[in-house]
């Protein structure tokens, strides 16, 4: 009985291979996008977690060269002799057969506790590490290294991919170098040791990740990717839901017959469950493979981004983890269950003698009332969550309600828009076209919902990214407006720099600050020499008076400027009194955006600062000059400043923008992929509906419309629906962007990004959506236009 039942069920797919393809392809694409993004995240996390665990990257402060990429061994020795607890690290590329290995040399005797693989490996002891020159390598490259090196190679899964680690002496021999890459600073340093600038003036200290809040930034990057993966998965599940729903509706008659013939409902459900699970596993396998290709393609950009932004090393090659495969198959099964649950429920409730002749589109249309109510409820919840809710979870819940509610509302909105068009239509073809389009809505609604989500995500994320880019550029202009930035060794050198630069006609802007607490919040108070450059470049998000009036008051010591973080945390805004010291309170004249900085800041005039904090003296200076190259050369040649003490801020700005652009290459690629999946959903829906369309279109053909014109109208229909969906997607995408910028970002990071609109970008996106719809509609329309009259006549045939 089971075999007969399975055979009967499977015969449906044999007769409808296109629907089977739609189901498998939809599930495979959903799995691919999800698992691809997860693979990227996992790979990146594993890489820098492994690097941090083994090399102490991120856990300890480090000394790095102020200029260039190497540290002289003499500097290391000088620091050790002076009492500094530092440990050397050498890094370099090594070719082992086809593999490019990142070889890292460490000194286990001086390294802080926990750094190095020998502390947790039983395969090699510390003496062996030191005397025999053991090389620990990630398993992926161990064999290649063993065949290349004379040293003993031990595979260590705890290492970052493509990474090998050995004693620093061995590393220097293998890399042919006698210098170092950086020095790790132990947490406990002896008191009274000489200043770094005295012992090793070419080195600067880089703070550990804990201090610079990098974890939060990497998390935001991964959150961005995960959100996209989830959205792409949702788009794919819309396709699968449509395919399963249609297949189950078409099989109602068969299911009724099977039950009439004695197959129990329970056994039928089990068989259909098995059938769906099998399809899901096959689709999941394909999806995971596709996801691997996707992740491998995007990994170089992700690696470059993470390295550029956070200095985190990510392997260039993707590792195949069995857990990743299993989770990919699991998500495919979960997706199939989610998409098929409704159809299963309908079958369970279907009486044995139920009619089998129910039109799928009509059946779907009957649920419109419930769908509208659910859409309204979800949109209401989104509004309430935004207005009343607090916290990140409420923000994301509002986002989910908004997207789901809008997707559910889309068919109803389109129906009303088309009905409005019908009311104003002139001409019988237009009226019929609009009425017929309305009739097609239930069958196309899932694909259109997928398109809506894809377009809204594109609009929302591109608005967020572009707003972020504009704000970030403005912020860089604001903070890096001085052409050069000089870090003096001490206040004496600082004073010399100021005199030297002023003599050459450049503007000197001393940067001096003290760490303190303001209104119960940790904050930095800056004493600023107000110059026209500040008035020109700094932009306030809230202010009391004009820009120049604000700065005039600051220069006079009559007011202060604070950053947004402090404003939001302490609820201080222009006009509010700011307690600076026990006997000194200033009114706030302006609040300035300070993106990415976790600490509150207060800016007051230089004179007042010197009176309030007489012990502070400037060691850092911004230099505004028309001839930065000449001034830099003069500072080095005439004043003896090291290259590492002078920063070319224009180059820094260029570098920062470059890193930023690369960050969103990944986002842009996922945008395009999501839109492509939505286009695929439309194609599959149109192809699936094509067979149903013949009986609907045959009467119009019989009454005098040509097959060619019917084909053209089918293309036009897809374009009209895509355009109307685009119209709905625009406000939805902007709402999504607003939620991301004004709610979620504030909850996550404490500052709000201004939102800018980019009509040109939206128009281009609309063009892409229309192109996707056009491409999706061409083939079905072409097939319709080529339908032989004999096929159309079958609709009318009683006999021959």
């Amino acid at each position: 009985m089971t075999r007969a039942g399975l055979s009967a069920l499977w015969s449906f797919w044999r007769r409808n291979p296109l629907q089977l393809f739609t189901l498998v392809a939809g599930l495979a694409l959903a799995t691919a996008l999800w698992s691809g993004v997860q693979a990227l995240n996992a790979q990146a996390r594993a890489s820098y977690d492994a690097a941090a665990a083994v090399l102490g990257e991120g856990r300890y402060d480090q000394l790095i060269p102020a200029a260039g990429e190497t540290v002289a061994q003499d500097s290391y020795l000088a620091l050790r002799r002076a009492g500094w607890q530092v440990s050397p690290v050498l890094e370099g590329p090594l070719q082992a057969r086809q593999a490019r290995v990142r070889l890292v040399g460490i000194d286990p005797l001086t390294a802080p506790g926990g750094v190095g693989p020998m502390t947790r490996s039983e395969a090699a002891t510390l003496p062996a590490f030191l005397s025999e020159g053991v090389v620990f390598a990630h398993p992926g490259i161990a064999e290649a290294l063993a065949g290349t090196l004379s040293q003993r190679v031990v595979a260590d899964p705890g290492l970052a991919p493509d990474t090998a680690i050995t004693d620093i002496g061995v590393a220097q021999r293998l890399l042919g170098r006698d210098d170092l890459s950086r020095l790790i600073l132990a947490e406990d340093q002896p008191i009274g040791r000489p200043d770094l600038s005295d012992v090793a003036p070419g080195l600067i200290r880089r703070a550990s990740q804990q201090a610079s809040d990098i974890g939060q930034l990497t998390d935001s990057f991964h959150l961005n990717l995960t959100a996209f993966g989830l959205l792409s998965f949702a788009v794919g599940i819309f396709i699968v839901h449509g395919a399963i729903g249609l297949a189950f509706e078409q099989r109602r008659a068969m299911i009724r017959t099977l039950r009439t013939l004695g197959l129990s409902l329970r056994r039928l459900m089990v068989l259909m469950g098995l059938e769906l699970a099998l399809i899901a596993l096959v689709a999941g396998g394909i999806g995971v493979a596709l996801g691997y290709v996707l992740a491998a393609g995007l990994l170089p950009d992700v690696a470059a981004t993470l390295e550029g932004l956070y200095g985190a090393q990510v392997a260039g090659g993707l590792q195949l983890d069995p857990v990743w495969w299993l989770s990919g198959l699991g998500i495919a099964l979960l997706g199939a269950v989610l998409a098929g649950a409704g159809a299963f429920w309908k079958i369970i409730r279907m009486p044995v003698l139920a009619t089998g002749a129910r039109a799928w589109a009509v059946a779907t249309g009957r649920g419109r009332g419930c769908q509208g109510a659910a859409a309204l409820a979800l949109l209401g919840l989104a509004g309430l969550g935004t207005l009343l809710g607090g916290g990140l979870i409420a923000g994301f819940a509002s986002l989910a309600c908004l997207l789901l509610g809008a997707a559910l509302a889309l068919p109803l909105v389109l129906d009303r828009l088309l009905a409005l068009g019908e009311a104003f239509a002139r001409g019988v073809r237009t009226e019929w076209f609009l009425a017929d389009t309305r009739q097609q809505l239930p069958g196309l609604s899932l694909a259109l919902m997928a398109l809506l989500l894809a377009m809204a995500a594109n609009i929302g994320v591109s608005t967020m990214v572009s707003s972020f880019r504009m704000t970030f550029t403005g912020f860089l202009d604001q903070r890096l407006f001085a052409e050069l930035y000089v870090e003096a060794e001490d206040t004496t050198q600082g004073a010399a720099v100021a005199d030297f630069v002023q003599d050459r006609g450049a503007t000197v802007l001393p940067i001096q600050w003290v760490d303190t607490h303001i209104a119960g919040q940790a904050a930095e108070v800056y004493g600023t020499r107000v110059a026209p450059a500040y008035v020109e470049n700094w932009r306030f998000i809230a202010q009391d008076g004009t820009d120049s009036a604000v700065w005039d008051r600051v220069a006079d010591g009559a007011a202060a400027i604070i950053n947004e973080q402090l404003a939001r945390r302490a609820d201080l805004w222009p006009g509010d009194p700011l307690p600076l010291a026990a006997d000194r309170t200033l009114p706030i004249a302006g609040v300035v955006g300070d993106y990415g900085n976790p600490i509150g800041q207060v800016v007051i005039g230089e004179g007042l600062f010197e009176r309030l904090f007489p012990a502070a003296a400037p060691e850092r200076f911004g230099l505004v000059t028309d001839t930065p190259a000449a001034l830099r050369a003069a500072l080095q040649d005439d004043l003896g400043l090291a290259a590492g003490q002078i920063t070319d801020q224009a180059a820094l700005k260029q570098f920062s923008l470059g890193v930023f652009e690369r960050t969103f290459t990944v986002t842009a690629a996922l945008n395009v992929l999501t839109l492509a999946v939505a286009g695929f959903a439309i194609l599959m829906s149109l192809l699936t509906l094509a067979a149903m369309r013949v009986p609907q279109l045959a009467p119009a053909w019989a009454l005098g419309l040509t097959r060619a014109s019917l084909g053209r109208l089918e293309v036009l229909r897809a374009l009209v629906l895509a355009a109307l969906t685009g119209l709905v997607a625009l406000p939805l995408g902007l709402a999504l962007a607003w939620l991301l910028l004004a709610v979620i970002n504030v909850e996550a990071f404490g500052w709000r990004l201004p939102m800018f609109l980019f009509p040109g970008d939206y128009a281009v996106l609309g063009g892409f959506a229309l192109l996707a719809a056009l491409l999706a509609a061409l083939w079905p329309a072409w097939r319709l236009a080529r339908t032989p009259p004999s096929e159309l006549l079958k609709v009318f045939a009683n006999d021959a």
């Binding site: 009509v362 001409g427 019988v428 073809r429 009226e431 019929w432 009425a435 017929d436 309305r438 009739q439 609907q696 045959a698 009467p699 119009a700 053909w701 019989a702 009454l703 005098g704 419309l705 040509t706 097959r707 060619a708 014109s709 009259p789 004999s790 159309l792 006549l793 609709v795 009318f796 045939a797 009683n798 006999d799 021959a800």
Partner: protein
């Protein structure tokens, strides 16, 4: 002569080669004349109707309507023929499900550029459809749907009305009522009517009868 069919042949492809359906059929029909086409299932009645109505192409022979040879018309030409010259009433009604009754009745007349709202209203009234004008096809009974199909055809004022078992899906009483209305209205327009039917009674109500047997006129 409204319709002149000469030596018309048509075959459909079959697993063992072409299967002839019509073999050299010829007939004539004057304006205002009514003709019943009878024959067993598979005798080629509907195929003849489809060829005359420009829904399909003949393999050989000639069809002239109002003196115009329509045999060699291309796809747009045959579409124009269906819009303006002939009207086809099908057994399955074939209404446009997305349009309401009023729009369905007006549809072909508007395509032909001959829409007359007053005439459409009169037809609806004559066929007892006035109360159904705002309903959709799925909300109508079979008899009501066939009346809408008849009204749609006659509203376009075609020179030639072709009907393929127009009452085949209706019960006897409804079929008789629909037939009465259709014949009266066709007579009023002066159009020619060629109707395929199995029913000897219905055929007997038309001016002339022809029998098809194995693709030939008996």
């Amino acid at each position: 002569m409204l319709l002149r069919v000469e030596n018309l042949s048509k075959a459909y492809p079959g697993p063992e080669g072409p299967v002839p359906v019509l073999r050299g059929v010829g007939l004539q029909l004057r304006a205002g004349e009514t003709l019943a086409l009878r024959g067993e299932s598979g005798s080629g009645k509907s195929t003849l109707l489809h060829l005359v109505g420009g829904l399909d192409r003949a393999d050989a022979g000639r069809i002239a309507i109002d003196g115009q040879d329509v045999t060699g018309l291309d796809d747009p030409g045959r579409a124009a023929l269906r819009r303006g010259t002939v009207g086809v009433i099908f057994q399955q009604f074939n209404l446009i499900p997305s349009l309401n009754v009023r729009a369905n009745i007006a549809f072909q007349a508007r395509l032909a550029g001959r829409h007359d709202a007053a005439r459409a209203a009169r037809l609806a009234d004559a066929l007892g459809l006035t109360a159904q004008l705002d309903k959709y096809p799925e909300q109508l009974s079979g008899g009501q749907q066939q009346r809408v199909a008849i009204a749609r055809t006659l509203a376009a004022r075609p020179a030639l009305v072709l009907a393929d078992e127009p009452t085949g899906n209706l019960d006897e009483a409804t079929a008789a009522a629909v037939m009465d209305q259709m014949l009266a209205l066709v007579a009023e327009t002066g159009a020619g009517l060629m109707m395929v039917t199995h029913s000897p009674d219905l055929a007997g109500r038309l001016g002339r009868q022809l029998h098809l047997r194995q693709g030939r006129l008996a």
